[in-house]
């Protein structure tokens, strides 16, 4: 079957096309603009592009709803099924776009020329990275997915190195390249076996073919999936594949750190969800052994990530590395819903994932935004930069407290509710060990996150320089803090909305 790109197809690619167009336009603009003109205008342009893409995504959601009401399947295959427009993708795209928009906004207030001499490049390179992330969440084919993944990776390699005068930045980028490249190789190697066993790269077809292939090619299927798991574990920085993350996060400019922590991680997570839900469910047949093993492996990795991430953060004095390790733990939490059995009782894994992802986006970006402000005033990124923040900037301290509560999972915040929701799922499916680990690491995380609070409220602070707040960063911090609290008190609208949009059958099982 030969399919060509039609106009209607390109409508469904509109968000990505918009972003691509903005990338090119902004790149040209960057070249054309005289040196003395500030590059902030490119940042604002990128923001416009992100918002516009978001509008298109919303439009798609609306379209799908119309179809659903009309009784049709609420998804659309484009380009021979290699691209899917469904609500799984749409919701995640919204999350990525929103997160990127927040990051861009925050950096508009904080990124200075000294730090990032080629600021324009920073702003327009972030757009193709988002395209990559969107491709990862919206592909129906391993090939497209792989290309999306590489698009994201390669642009982020550059972004990490964007402070090109800085040795740290370059070193971080190099480490990231090596790790990312190896991870890609593993993923790709695994994909090749999957293709070999089923003869197709189309995810849904693989899912159909695998139960049949299970009898003859069990070992190869194991190999395929485990290679992919290893690759993704590296990408996601799940423990003990995480050691690169703190180095890279520390070396990268803070907005890029935020992007890596939130969007890159979220996109990889989306890819894992997509692949495993489409192909690894082996829905038919009594032989669930391989499937169980795969999901067990995911569970084990999630557990290890939670434990190692939080334990590693315990003694960490560098705030950025600490947040990187907290990101490791949070990746573990994000993986937990996927590792649980899909049963009658528990099939809301996507809501759990997306809700916690949203919470994670808010708290992580918010915390990093605060960190940017604070480290700029103290000149370093150690925890002690936060000393006495309560005296220097009480409102920022209050916002940071809310964000930390969310990170620590204290009521009533998004982080609390997200964890609660995931925990309930683990208990429902009887995976008490995961619940116990999740809870245990949460307790230890109190110590970790409260080390910020101790610095802010209980340590000196009268002598530290004051914190200069800029409007865009302030907006981001408060959006994140308020969002974290609001999501915690009223998770219902979000969850109702997600539940109304997402459908397991439509998004994963329908061809």
């Amino acid at each position: 079957m030969i399919t060509t790109l039609t106009w209607s197809d390109s409508w469904y690619l509109a968000p990505e096309i918009v972003l691509a167009a903005f990338t090119i336009a902004l790149a040209v603009l960057d070249l054309a603009l005289p040196r003395r003109v500030g590059r902030d205008v490119i940042g604002w342009g990128a923001l416009v592009g992100l918002v516009l893409a978001g509008v298109f995504v919303c439009w798609h959601i609306h379209d799908l709803n119309v179809w659903k009401d009309a009784g049709k399947d609420a998804f659309r295959n484009v380009l021979g099924g290699s691209w899917r427009v469904d609500n799984f993708g749409n919701l995640l795209k919204l999350a990525f776009l929103g997160a990127t928009a927040l990051i861009v906004l925050a950096s508009l207030g904080t990124v200075r020329d000294r730090e990032v001499p080629i600021k324009g490049e920073f702003y327009y390179l972030i757009l193709p990275a988002v395209i990559g992330a969107m491709a990862m969440s919206s592909s129906g084919d391993m090939l497209t997915m792989y290309v999306g993944m590489e698009l994201l990776s390669i642009t982020t390699y550059v972004l990490v190195a964007v402070r090109k005068k800085s040795g740290q930045s370059a070193e971080a980028a190099f480490k990231y390249v090596v790790t990312g490249g190896t991870a890609s190789a593993f993923v790709l190697y695994g994909m090749s076996f999957l293709y070999g066993v089923t003869g197709t790269t189309h995810l849904a077809s693989i899912g159909q073919a695998l139960p049949g292939a299970l009898a003859d090619y069990r070992a190869m299927i194991y190999v395929a999936f485990f290679l992919m798991i290893v690759g993704f574990a590296l990408k996601l920085a799940l423990a003990p594949f995480h050691a690169w993350a703190p180095d890279v996060y520390q070396g990268a400019p803070t907005p890029v750190t935020a992007f890596l922590a939130v969007v890159a991680k979220g996109a990889a997570m989306a890819m894992v969800y997509r692949i495993f839900l489409n192909t690894a469910q082996f829905a038919t047949g009594d032989d669930s052994q391989v499937r169980d093993d795969l999901f067990l492996a995911l569970g084990v990795l999630a557990a290890a990530a939670m434990i190692v991430g939080i334990a590693g953060a315990l003694k960490q004095q560098n705030a950025k590395r600490l947040l990187a390790l907290s990101g490791v733990a949070n990746a573990g939490i994000l993986l937990v819903p996927l590792s649980l059995d899909l049963t009658n009782l528990h099939s809301s894994l996507f809501s759990e994932f997306v809700y916690y992802l949203a919470a994670y986006v808010l708290m992580n970006i918010g915390a990093l935004a605060v960190l940017t402000l604070v480290s700029r005033s103290s000149g370093h990124e150690q925890l002690s930069a936060f000393a006495g923040l309560y005296h220097r900037a009480p409102w920022t301290a209050a916002a940071m407290t809310a964000l930390l509560c969310s990170l620590a999972g204290l009521p009533i915040t998004a982080g609390f509710y997200g964890k609660l929701y995931i925990l309930f799922a683990t208990v429902q499916t009887g995976e008490y060990w995961l619940a116990a680990i999740l809870l245990g690491t949460t307790v230890v995380s109190y110590y970790v996150y409260f080390s910020f609070i101790r610095q802010m409220y209980m340590r000196g602070g009268e002598n530290e320089p004051s914190v200069r707040m800029t409007i865009p960063t302030g907006v981001v911090i408060w959006v994140c803090a308020a969002g974290s609290v609001a999501l915690g008190i009223f998770p219902k609208p979000v969850l109702d909305w997600v539940d109304g949009l997402f459908s397991l059958t439509t998004d994963f099982l329908a061809r």
């Binding site: 099939s347 925990l423 809870l439 307790v443 110590y447 409220y457 209980m458 219902k492």
Partner: protein
Amino acid sequence: MLEDIPVLSLIVWLPLLGAVVTLLMPKQNARLLRWTAIVFSVVPLVLGLLLFASYEPILGGGAYAEHGTWLSVPLNAEAWSASQGVTSYRLVFNYLLGIDGISLPLVLLTGIVSTMSALATVHIHKRWKTFYPLFLLLQTGMYGVFLARDVVLFFIFFELTLLPMFFLIGIWGYFGKEKAANRFLLYNGLGSAVMLLGFLILIATLGFSATQTAGGVELVYSGSYDTMLANLADPNAAANAGGAMFLSGNLRWAAFILLLIAFGIKLPFFPFHTWMLKVHTEAPPSVVMIHSGILLKMGVYGLIRFVALLFPGQIDSWAPVLATLGVINILYGAILACAQKEFKLVLAYSSISHMGIVLLGIASLNETGFEGAIYQAVSHGLISALLFLIVGSLYERTGTTRLDELGGLARSLPFTSGILLTAGLASLGLPGLSGFIGEFLSFLGLFDTWKWLTAIGVLGVLFAAVYVLRGVLAMIHGPMQEKWIGLKEARFIEALPMVALTALIVLLGVYPSLLTDLMQHGFDGLLKELQTRVGG
């Protein structure tokens, strides 16, 4: 009259309103802030007293209960709708507040101790504008814990007490405040994590209810305490649950033990007690008043409400374990209290010992014992609040509460010393003061079933005399050191709560029916269950 207003909600949320109000006040005006805090502590107390006055044990607190849905979030119903015609499958967190004979005494205790502690905040000398909002927020958490009838709501209020306490200890504490705050946070965090796991198991296995509607079945998971009780009592519940997982025997044990540990940490029982020592020594007095006076009682309340009342079978077979734990607590705490050189530590260990008596009361599994446990909780709350009030007042003057550095204070501070002695006597269970009644009822209750254990536990009463007298007399009697001669007697605002608490301790000791009548029907359900279990 009270039935017409959401009195329970008012009690819970008024302190929070107070917190907001104090946030809007000028930073430097400590008096204004303090009096605002006092007012917002007194009003819930008054409401609680009105409730107390109009509460009829025979009717229970049904008239005051408040039902509402706070959250109803979807669980994916696709798989269900295909197989069982389930149209709606949701996880519901309710806003359920209720009152009964078990919680009312503790609500009153919260009101009283909070008010007294608000008066005692004269010892706070810095950052008032941060202190009072946290202080009031803490109260909201505590009232919420005692009034919530939904496990998730309960948990949230429980956690809500953590954060303010962390700050209150960590900012306004003494020398080792940060360490103490950390310990408090981690230990209690661990406790609440364990509790949450237990609660989630309960929700997932007991909290379901299915409603048949015209469109199909509506399946709901909720944390409602009443739903759980109803499901427990319903012999067909497992069958009605359909595909839902019902609480199996093993899970029941798991949840029981999890909750036991969770509340045991709060109580605290041996060997989970070390965290509270630091809190007792390092936190500011008005905060320890609340901590020792109320927060520990959340453990008592939780043990009764969620461990005893929800798991009659388990508590029945574990009664000896609980009783043994109680005896260990009593003796261990008492003997260690005898060996301390710091008065605050004496009090801390004595709290452990006294909480052992609570365990005995619970382990007795009869009405007397439960009443004793609650009575002991209330009385210990008042007594330890009073003791720490005095400790704070003494520390303010002398800068130490070490036994070997003090002595003969009765000379320069006769009033404070007199109150201290009274409080000490109450603490060692002197009849005529409230401490005796709780001990007596607990021992009486347990004696019915575990005579030897009780007899050993009663030894704790003897040790109590030893450590209380050793501690108190070392401070107020004996030769006085030169440097304490010029000490000033308690100011009015310090004396007021001292007198009030003493009066209450005497009142409860002289006329215990005041409280025991309240609890009269609180345990009917459990006792019936236990009786059928034992009898059948």
